[in-house]
Point group: C2
Chain length 494, copies 2
């Protein structure tokens, strides 16, 4: 049974309980952003004292509304929440999103338990409490109570972000939007009073527009459920996880933030490893990894060819690949090398990294890129394009785009620079090609992407010597620790 959470992301009708005329109040900002965001459904503001808010008729209570309400967004003080839940139940509302704080995270555990009991008794689903709510870029539904001029909303795409912390969620959405990343769904779920990280991941597993799932969590509500959910989800799409509170000091801090009890670091890393979830070691890295998946970077194997017009960049990237866990420097075929040599200037060395030199023209990029993409010894290209040199014309954008369109092999671009570089990089991003600023950080992210893909596809990883080839599949058969019935162990091939 799939948990049906559509009402949270694309409700047809929403009641905003605690809607306000005062622009400084959360209940006002939620209304405003929902309307400004272009939401297509109906909106019913609830407030016993107001008549009209932002041009919408206000209802004294939820019982006054004569239509079916898919979702109640609740923004009233903590002490009124239980009463509101009773009213929502009477009105047969099954889905509530409670932004209100003042529960377990400030020590008010009793109130939070009462709330949970009530929700369970009524069979209601709940996002929150103490959360920022949801944003759906495809369905233009937005409960985030932060001004649009301060928090840029991203355009629609394939990244979904499940985030326990509202501040991390909003800051990351903002910078990601600014850098041209595109999103499907975002949910800030706060204390996870009822619905938890696993519920959202499971929902996103079945969400077609979600291509990659990012999770920032401070506590895991139910370890076994989390394990199972990750395992079945990563079989279909990647899940990248960053865990807050993995150190003793960090753990202490989570208690007062989302009331979470964070677990042991090694156990947690073990869970990620066994479920083929991807561990991010920082927020920046999480979104580097997500961008590679969102841009459909898909490796059939792990042999990377570097093409560059900066020798030093080629070397730094080579060092990063050599120091990575799962990537390998490609060894191009002699045929490819011969073809490249035919057109190359005499002072150019042909190898990996392939340094096209400071006088590299767009044409030289075109020739070598296409030859490398056609080489069966090469699984993907790390293309470094430094636009500071005058012979590299802006047509390079077309050259890369065309090569990307005509080949199934991934091209990942690294370009470092100022305004001119940003302009070209954004053009490439818009054409579906992932572009990053720095080589080492790109390789770190790519390493994790390729590892996931090869484990996922059960591909034989090509190592330095053919004899050393390992079948990654074998690793997957390791029995998960805390699992009594390891079903995977019996699976072979149906």
């Amino acid at each position: 049974m799939v948990m049906q959470l559509d009402n949270f992301f694309r409700p047809r009708s929403v009641a905003v309980i605690g809607a306000s005329r005062n622009p400084a109040k959360i209940g006002h900002v939620i209304m405003k952003n929902m309307i400004d965001g272009g939401f297509h459904g109906r909106v019913f503001p609830i407030n016993p004292e107001a008549k009209e808010i932002l041009g919408y008729r206000v209802y004294k209570s939820i019982s006054e509304v004569n239509e079916i309400i898919d979702l109640a967004v609740i923004a009233v003080p903590a002490e009124f929440v239980l009463k509101i839940i009773d009213e929502c139940n009477k009105k047969k509302i099954k889905d509530v999103l409670i932004v209100t704080a003042g529960f377990g995270e400030v020590g008010n555990h009793k109130l939070e338990e009462q709330l949970k009991d009530k929700l369970d008794k009524y069979g209601m689903r709940c996002v929150g409490v103490n959360c920022l709510g949801v944003f759906d870029a495809h369905h233009k539904f937005d409960t985030l109570f932060l001004p649009r001029y301060r928090l840029t909303r991203p355009k629609s795409g394939g990244i979904s972000f499940v985030c326990q912390s509202g501040a991390i969620g909003s800051a990351i959405l903002d910078i990601a939007a600014y850098n041209g990343y595109s999103f499907s769904k975002f949910v800030s779920y706060g204390n996870a009073t009822q619905l938890d990280e696993s519920d959202f991941i499971e929902y996103l597993l079945h969400d077609e527009s979600t291509k990659v799932i990012c999770l920032y969590a401070e506590g895991i509500k139910n370890g076994e459920k989390f394990f199972e959910t990750l395992k079945k989800t990563t079989a279909v799409k990647p899940v990248i996880v960053l865990k807050g509170g993995l150190t003793d000091a960090g753990m202490k801090a989570t208690v007062s933030h989302t009331g979470s009890l964070a677990g042991n670091k090694d156990v947690f890393y073990g869970v990620l490893n066994q479920t083929n979830a991807i561990r991010a070691d920082s927020l920046e890295e999480m979104f580097h990894i997500a961008a590679l998946f969102e841009k459909k970077v898909d490796f059939a194997n792990n042999r990377i060819q570097i093409i560059t017009n900066g020798g030093g960049y080629g070397i730094v990237t080579t060092d990063a690949i050599a120091g990575s866990k799962h990537l390998r420097m490609a060894d191009m075929s002699s045929i490819t090398a011969g073809e490249i040599k035919k057109k190359a200037p005499p002072h150019m060395n042909v190898g990996n990294p392939l340094d096209l030199l400071g006088d590299a023209t767009t044409e030289r990029y075109r020739d070598t890129l296409n030859l490398c993409l056609a080489d069966k010894n090469i699984d993907g290209i790390l293309l470094i394009a430094l636009y500071q040199t005058p012979l590299l014309t802006t047509e390079i954008v077309e050259v890369i785009t065309e090569a990307h369109r005509n080949s199934k092999k991934p091209i990942v671009v690294v370009s470092t620079g100022g305004e001119f570089t940003e302009l070209l990089s954004k053009s490439l991003m818009e054409r579906g090609i992932p572009v990053f600023n720095f080589p080492t950080e790109t390789i770190t992210a790519l390493d994790k992407v390729v590892n996931y893909q090869l484990k996922h596809k059960h591909v034989k990883v090509i190592t330095t010597s053919v004899k050393e080839e390992k079948i990654i599949l074998g690793k997957l058969k390791t029995k998960p620790k805390a699992k009594p019935k390891p079903k995977a162990a019996k699976k072979k091939k149906k």
Copy 2:
């Protein structure tokens, strides 16, 4: 004896040998950028076939110029370079900058050796060959032959960058300028035919406007000289080093790039450790570290207080500090905690991280920031300001600036976001406060900065227990491996 390299960075008169009327030629671009850059000295273009270039009278040969020439910038094909050096010697020019490629890096070792012999015989100093040249932001001298619309020149400040690779140098200058970093001197020295990385570092040691030195090197020409130079330089100012070609694959690539033979990784790391140079593990990290030094972040000890309006950010940062090698979470005094509690809302926990909550006002930041700065248990502040929340007004810029002005303790800001955030972050940067995008990467850089400062000052590092205190000085007394006369071992206190 200090190597006197002023002529390379602020010559009074320059000959451009190989100057050209053709805008596509390097000899033209060098002329143009030198003039457009606002260079105050005299410029003498040399070209046997032209009469005027960019409004400047052209001389057929260097011997035709009747004035003293401080520096010759040479941009003629490799086969003519030896002849030009002879002419420069006749003209009594002592300093030459040779951008020309086609020497050791393409296997033409013989020509490069001949050149070196000639330079030594004549007692000439040489930057290059196969290089991009120099840029001095304070003296507006610029030989970089890359268009100004593609490579933004940074404004004047305290970072100096010694870079073997021209492409890395130019790309980094460009992105650093774009992000508001400011520079003193930049030199791309290519094959290091004569002057090498150690010569430039020594020169920058004595350069007052240089506050921090960055080095990207592929080969170290003279290990002992490098060791000695680093040791005496880091006693005065920080040197951050990124080495290309530390892996076997990377090493192979350096040979064809700058003809360098890269050394063993462990030996190299050992040298950096023994000389108190700072190892950067990526280009991005190198400039994070440099920015902290350039903004005069100076720690008396290692106890950090986190102040945040995002709980999750506080936790992620706490995890990073707990996982760092040299930083420690500060433990504020009970007096400070009491004062903060007096003004704090009831639902706010007082501790470290100090979470000012999502409803944090600018006033709440002011109060807590000033109280923490005054606490003797706190050595510096990691201040997280997420501008997505409406109660944090733009006046926060003034609050942080004022606190920074009135306290000797460093404040490092982390802000993640889009356009609105960028605006406020740039304002802070201009006021001398370092601002970064992501917490984890900031802590990684800060860890290295604080380690340098404490070793440098021989400060007792405060560890979890007072009993565990270690005197870093002891570590410094370790005998350097490849050194026959370890003078440092006898030094105590004069």
